[in-house]
């Protein structure tokens, strides 16, 4: 009789802790499937370069990082602001616009920076080379994925 009574006398809080524990969500995955890093990249490139055409592709799924990561991106920016600038100067403009992201959660950024005329002549998105697994076991990538804000000491 007493064991049966004790069973039903167990406090609710204790009963809850004995059931399946909540699985902690990896810190780098947005719980609602929003893509904050992608949104931030899009916003910053739009504001700084006023592009005629902009594509932001999350290529993290092509690399050795957890599903849902926002660590590897490819951007295509078509802007008149690139007129007269060398490739290096154009890429530096893009890097500068995304300085915070690149010092934080973004591990790799592939860039195509074209003038409107160049885009018209060849409207193709380049393809990224296949991953060779470099991110796997790379503790700096793990740290970047966990980092919420920017850390200038973390990098690609």
């Amino acid at each position: 009789m007493f064991p049966r009574l004790l069973r039903f006398a167990t406090p609710t809080s204790t009963r809850l802790t004995l059931t399946r524990p909540l699985m902690p969500r990896p810190p780098h995955m947005d719980p609602e499937g929003r893509r904050p890093v992608e949104q931030s990249i899009r916003t910053k490139l739009s504001e700084s370069l006023c592009p005629d055409h902009l594509e932001v592709h999350n290529e993290s799924h092509m690399h050795a990082v957890p599903p849902g990561s926002e660590s590897h991106f490819r951007v295509l920016v078509v802007s008149g602001r690139f007129e007269g600038l060398s490739l290096l100067q154009r890429h530096r403009l893009v890097n500068e616009a995304l300085r915070e992201e690149l010092s934080g959660r973004v591990h790799a950024l592939a860039i195509q920076a074209k003038t409107p005329q160049q885009w018209e002549g060849n409207p193709t998105l380049a393809k990224s080379p296949p991953c060779m697994g470099g991110s796997k076991g790379d503790h700096t990538v793990e740290e970047k994925l966990k980092a919420g804000g920017g850390d200038p000491n973390l990098g690609s």
Partner: protein
């Protein structure tokens, strides 16, 4: 040997606290090491005509973008270049980004001048600029020979 001597010299330097506005003491040794890396990089990028900072080695790249740089150089017959594996040296990995003011790896230098990363090298290869830039370095691109043969 030189790197061994430099490493020993770093170990022997005494720790000096640097006054900073925040209550953070940055060991003088760390500052010295960072400065040494920057100085070393200044020498490294000039020692060879073509210098690549990459993940892995030319024989075994560990990153698709680094591999692309290796493949492009190989296509042009550039086999004799300095390749530094940043995965083996975290100080180098962070130091080269600061030195080049460039956030990603791989990084390519021609005659001590920063060229760019994989995307830039690829576009230079596609638009013919790479052949011209290699010519300025005194390197005859193998693609010129294969073009002649096909004609």
């Amino acid at each position: 040997m030189n790197s061994l001597i430099r490493h020993s010299a770093r170990c022997l330097r005494s720790v000096v606290f640097v006054a900073k506005p925040a209550n953070v003491a940055v060991p003088g040794r760390l500052l010295c090491e960072a400065a040494d890396t920057q100085k070393d990089l200044g020498e490294m990028v000039k020692k060879d005509k073509v210098v690549v900072f990459m993940k892995g080695t030319p024989a075994q790249p560990m990153c698709g973008f680094s591999n692309a740089v290796v493949q492009i150089l190989r296509m042009h017959g550039v086999d004799n270049y300095a390749a530094y594996n940043v995965l083996e040296d975290q100080e180098l990995r962070q130091g080269v980004k600061l030195f080049s003011n460039w956030p990603t790896i791989p990084q390519v230098y021609f005659n001590g001048e920063f060229v760019g990363g994989c995307d830039i090298l690829l576009q230079m290869h596609q638009n013919g600029d790479l052949v011209d830039e290699l010519k300025k370095l005194g390197i005859h691109s193998a693609l010129l020979d294969s073009e002649k043969e096909s004609k």
